[in-house]
């Protein structure tokens, strides 16, 4: 969910009037936005926008446009869009695409602007749009990357090529010398960040003008010359490259409409492909690809929970910047989304805009009347019986995270300084492929390491300590579709100067008595315990847990200085046993 920065006065300029922050706050609900930070001394405020399908709102111009229309302002009209079979005239502005790009980064959209120098607010807004569109909407430039250039320094047609990354060199923005593309990927900060998107291709995307003047190495970095845009620049060339034509055209439309709203004149550019695209081989941008949608009034009414007339639906949609008309039957409305939106997938999306356009406060809550029976899961109820019994025995319930470190889950459970701690033990913990840190690298296979950690930090609490946790653990299980099974588990631990096998076995015994289950024990060589003082707990032939006195080396590893006994049980196996 992007947070955008903007000059509050610039936003008010687009809205058409100023207002107190409290009014802006509630007006922003129409855009699913909220004020994240109030305006500072420079008049800069931060607004968070929650709808990831409305990238048109992620700029001062776009957000201001929506709020202006919502307040009754006129719908914007943009005449620079080409449509199906109705292309604008690009003049000499052409981009020619290299056939080798078809399987690298096949699409490019572009337009030019003129007529007004970029001011500080517009430049900032443009840079922010670029950043938010490419990061949040364009998967960190993977599907959309955008560049802006000074038209005065370049000659059409622009060439979008696939080039050899070693033979091709230029001076990238932010550096003072020429590097080849591989060097940029390895050395330039943007290369390190975005290079991996194209690093595996033998030939990489490259943008030059007709004379070979370098524009950029998309999606990585602009050139230091043509690609450096500053306040006061008037004639600009904007291009977006990517992997999905529709997303690209949407982003292109958003930027073009924003610049048009800021007072710039948008000039079309023709992109010429040597291969087929969903829109043919020549696409003149900006391009309006949105198809009209037919929405049934009855379906909208069903979602609203009340009947709605075509008139009120059309009025509500109008406030959302959407053109709609009643169809001849009176049962449906024809809806035409604006060029900068592509979030109508289904008529339910229209219904939501009707709700917001009419105002959430116009709908009164109604209690559902359906009768249903509530209940807890069987495992939950069984777990509560277990918890009640343990508490009755004087145990204190603990609750812990499910992720932890290899140090706690594995190394500290080693009974000897070297060797495999899991020899003789059934289960290792599940490891994550992309941990944030070593502290949260494994999914626990028992509460035991957490209970031992609790012991190690709780020596100040009066003894005896009797603690337990009922919670979930993850275990490898080849029979499971996931290869890993989630188990409801119980682990209880007693720590005291005279804690011993006999006492913990007595607790185990009384627990099973109240659970109405018969169990037996078998000697275990589980190395986490003192040899000869560990037992497997079985129901029939199924091992359901382990009980024993922890090995003093394990206690030392955890920094515990009193004897500790534990019992670790699989509650699902006991419930079904």
């Amino acid at each position: 969910m992007p947070k955008i920065e903007m000059y509050r006065d610039a936003l008010f300029g687009y809205i058409g009037r100023t207002m107190p922050e409290s009014e802006l706050e509630s007006l922003l609900e129409a855009a699913k936005g909220e004020i994240d930070e109030s305006a500072d001394a420079d008049g800069v405020m931060k607004i968070e926008l929650n709808d990831t399908n409305r990238p048109d709102l992620w700029s001062t111009a776009g957000l201001g446009r929506q709020l202006r229309v919502y307040l009754g302002g006129s719908m914007p009209r943009y005449d620079f869009f080409s449509r199906d079979a109705d292309a604008r005239d690009p003049g000499t502005r052409r981009v020619v695409v290299d056939p080798a790009l078809e399987h690298v980064r096949p699409y490019i959209a572009a337009f030019a602007v003129t007529g007004k120098p970029l001011d500080d607010a517009s430049l900032k807004d443009l840079i922010q749009s670029q950043e938010k569109l490419c990061t949040n909407f364009g998967q960190r430039r993977k599907s959309i990357a955008m560049g802006v250039y000074r038209t005065g320094l370049m000659t059409f047609p622009v060439r979008y090529q696939a080039v050899d990354p070693v033979a091709t060199r230029f001076t990238p923005l932010g550096m003072e010398r020429e590097l080849n593309l591989n060097q940029i990927i390895a050395e330039h900060p943007k290369g390190v960040e975005y290079g991996p998107i194209v690093a595996d291709f033998a030939k990489m995307p490259f943008l030059t003008d007709a004379n070979g003047e370098v524009l950029s190495f998309p999606p990585v970095i602009n050139s230091a010359r043509v690609g450096a845009v500053e306040e006061g620049d008037q004639d600009l060339f904007v291009e977006l490259t990517g992997t999905d034509l529709e997303s690209l055209l949407l982003a292109c439309a958003i930027v073009a409409c924003d610049l048009a709203d800021a007072g710039h004149t948008v000039l079309p550019v023709a992109v010429e492909y040597p291969y087929d695209t969903p829109l043919g081989r020549t696409v003149v941008c900006p391009y309006a690809f949105q198809q009209p949608l037919i929405a049934e009034l009855s379906a909208i009414g069903r979602i609203l929970g009340e009947k709605i007339t075509a008139d009120s639906a059309v009025t509500a949609l109008h406030r959302m910047g959407v053109t709609a008309t009643e169809s001849s039957t009176g049962q449906t409305i024809d809806v035409q989304p604006p060029e900068y939106r592509n979030d109508y997938l289904h008529q339910v999306d229209v219904a939501e805009d009707v709700i917001i356009g009419r105002g959430m406060r116009t709908f009164a809550p109604e209690m559902p009347t359906d009768f249903t029976v509530g209940r807890l899961t069987e495992a939950e109820r069984f777990g509560r019986t277990v918890i009640g019994t343990l508490v009755g025995m004087g145990y204190l319930e603990m609750i812990f995270p499910y992720l932890g470190s290899g140090r706690d889950f594995i190394e500290k459970l080693r009974p000897v300084p070297i060797g495999d701690p899991w020899e003789g033990v059934d289960q290792r913990p599940v490891k994550l492929a992309n941990p944030m840190s070593e502290s949260y690298e494994y999914v626990r296979n028992s509460s035991l390491p957490f209970l031992l950690n609790a012991e190690s930090v709780s020596a100040h609490a009066a003894y005896p300590h009797r603690i337990f946790e009922v919670g979930k653990i993850a275990r490898f299980d080849d029979a499971d579709n996931h290869g890993v099974r989630t188990v409801d588990a119980l682990c209880f631990v007693a720590a005291d100067a005279d804690a011993g096998f006999t006492a913990i076995s007595g607790d185990l015994s009384v627990l099973f008595y109240y659970l109405s289950r018969e169990y037996r024990v078998e000697e275990s060589d589980d190395p986490r315990f003192i040899p000869g003082r560990a037992a497997r707990v079985l129901i029939g032939d199924t091992v359901v847990g382990v009980v024993g006195e922890l090995h003093p080396q394990v206690l030392e590893n955890f920094g515990i200085t009193v004897p500790v006994t534990c019992c670790d049980l699989d509650l699902n196996a006991i419930l079904s046993g």
């Binding site: 339910v348 959430m360 709908f363 029976v373 319930e397 300590h465």
Partner: protein, 517 residues
């Protein structure tokens, strides 16, 4: 008179002392032992407590010397001193040379030598021309006889201790030669110096004793009632000591629920009371159920490698059940038969099998759809995982409370009604506000903000009506409301905490002491 002495606060050891002794009498440990039968420890306790109360003062401090029989001394007492044994041997066997005596008695030459030295000097032994030692006059060995009487007396004395004051001058002289202060293992006696402190009652004691007598307190009252006393009836003639009930007790150690999980159970019970049935699911999920089935496109920003934990091994589920896989895939690609245009991209059937840790409870809502009853209400209290840096407001794993409601009457207004019910019943809200929200799987989407009496306005949760692209591929044709509540904030408030990490504290004392507000 001292008025601040609480008669009930006096221990029986103090009471009996106060009643036994009168002003001016010397009170010592041995006097307490003799007259009241106090052991040393009891005497010390009684004296120090009374001293602290100002009823007793130290009068005099003297040091008494005593001689304690050592292990060696005890052996001498039993089997004889070397001198005694030499005389007895020579009487029995006639004159012998020193090495022969040494061998016969198992002694060392130097010991025999020194014994001969002293006994010869006293005139008890003599040596002939062949260096043989013979008895001359056994009666001349007077010191040997004195040592014998000391050994015998010490052996039967209390604590095998002879007091210096009880010895004659001769005995003191001899004792000096056979006792050591330190390193006494080689001597039959060890010198012991004992300090004797004498105490006197203060003038405040008599009134207290008088008050005790008047109150009928004797110090013989019973402390603990024993099973024997109940069985044999001796309690009938006993009086029970009144306890000082104002003494602050040490708190008992008890077993108890963890306040955080108890709160979670309270929420579960509340939801059950509102007609919701609980569901649960696996911690390890597939991309399919975690996101694809929720119509989140596979390129959605929340599905990035930075937003979902993946497993090192195994990496993929074996299968995704049909026809759900194909129906969901079609919904993404072209909307399937839902009337949606879909996301219009090629659905990745390998990616969808990738194993991850559940990042949202809605994954289990999605799994529940195909077997859900209509009408039906469901909830889950589910641990979810996100790769966040852990701090006061982010955890590596946390609970989400999620659920669905299926029924013909599910619409925006009943959704608002349900949210209002949650706000009032679960969160204790005094005011409720609904604002448009965004979730990839619901349309419309609503956020519910509540005014809490303590916390003020905050976002309680999110809700919406599942998109048809979510429900129809699961075979559900009625509208389905999906909701989620952020209960951690309320849990923190209930427990008086402001750091999420505290909910999972490992500190036993914290969990013992924590109260629910």
């Amino acid at each position: 008179m001292k008025t601040d002495v609480d008669l009930k606060g006096l221990h029986p050891l103090e009471v009996r002392l106060l009643l036994e002794f009168s002003a001016g009498e010397q009170i010592t440990a041995s006097a307490l032992s003799e007259r009241l039968g106090y052991k040393v420890g009891q005497a010390n306790q009684a004296v120090s407590w009374l001293e602290a109360k100002g009823l007793l003062v130290e009068a005099e401090r003297t040091t008494a010397v005593g001689f304690e029989l050592t292990e060696l001394g005890a052996e001498y007492a039993r089997t004889g001193t070397p001198e005694e044994r030499i005389i007895a041997l020579l009487r029995d066997r006639g004159p012998l040379r020193i090495p022969d005596i040494t061998a016969a008695l198992g002694l060392e030459n130097k010991d025999v030598g020194s014994a001969y030295g002293s006994l010869g000097k006293a005139g008890a032994l003599e040596m002939d021309g062949e260096k043989r030692i013979a008895v001359k006059d056994p009666d001349a060995a007077t010191d040997v006889a004195l040592i014998r009487t000391l050994l015998d007396r010490a052996e039967s004395a209390d604590g095998r201790l002879l007091h210096e004051v009880d010895l004659s001058d001769d005995e003191r002289r001899v004792m000096e030669s056979v006792s050591r202060k330190r390193g006494a293992a080689s001597a039959p006696f060890r010198v012991i110096e004992r300090e004797t402190v004498t105490y006197l009652l203060t003038e405040d004691a008599a009134p207290v004793a008088g008050a005790l007598a008047k109150a009928g307190i004797t110090g013989q009252e019973i402390g603990q009632l024993t099973p024997e006393m109940i069985r044999d009836g001796s309690w009938r003639s006993a009086t029970f000591r009144a306890y000082n009930i104002n003494v602050p007790p040490a708190q008992s150690i008890i077993g108890r629920r963890n306040p955080y999980s108890a709160y979670l159970d309270e929420v579960k019970d509340k939801l059950v009371s509102l007609g919701f049935e609980q569901f649960d699911g696996s911690l390890v999920e597939t991309e399919f159920w975690n996101s694809d089935a929720l119509f989140m496109p596979q390129f959605h920003s929340a599905r990035d490698i930075h937003d979902v934990y993946q497993l090192e091994a195994p990496t993929h589920a074996r299968e995704i059940e049909e026809p759900y896989l194909s129906q969901v895939a079609s919904a993404h690609e072209n909307g399937w038969t839902t009337g949606s245009r879909g996301w219009r991209y090629g659905f990745d059937r390998d990616f969808t099998k990738r194993l991850i840790l559940r990042s949202q409870g809605t994954a289990v809502s999605a799994r529940t759809l195909r077997s859900a009853k209509v009408p039906g209400r469901y909830f889950g209290m589910l641990r979810c995982f996100r790769p966040d840096d852990v701090d006061a407001t982010h955890l590596s794993d946390f609970y989400q409370t999620e659920g669905i409601v299926l029924g013909e009457d599910v619409n925006l207004k009943t959704l608002l009604g349900l949210l209002e019910m949650f706000a009032v019943e679960v969160a204790g809200a005094t005011d409720v506000k609904y604002v448009p929200g965004y979730f990839p799987f619901t349309e419309p989407s609503i956020e519910v903000h509540i005014k809490h009496p303590v916390l003020g306005w905050f976002e309680l949760g999110g809700s919406g009506i599942f998109r048809p692209e979510v429900t129809e591929p699961q075979g559900v044709s009625v509208p389905v409301l999906a909701w989620g509540l952020g209960i951690d904030r309320m849990a923190l408030m209930k427990l008086g905490l402001d750091d999420l990490r505290e909910l999972f504290t490992p500190d036993i004392q914290n969990v013992r002491r924590r109260r629910v507000g």
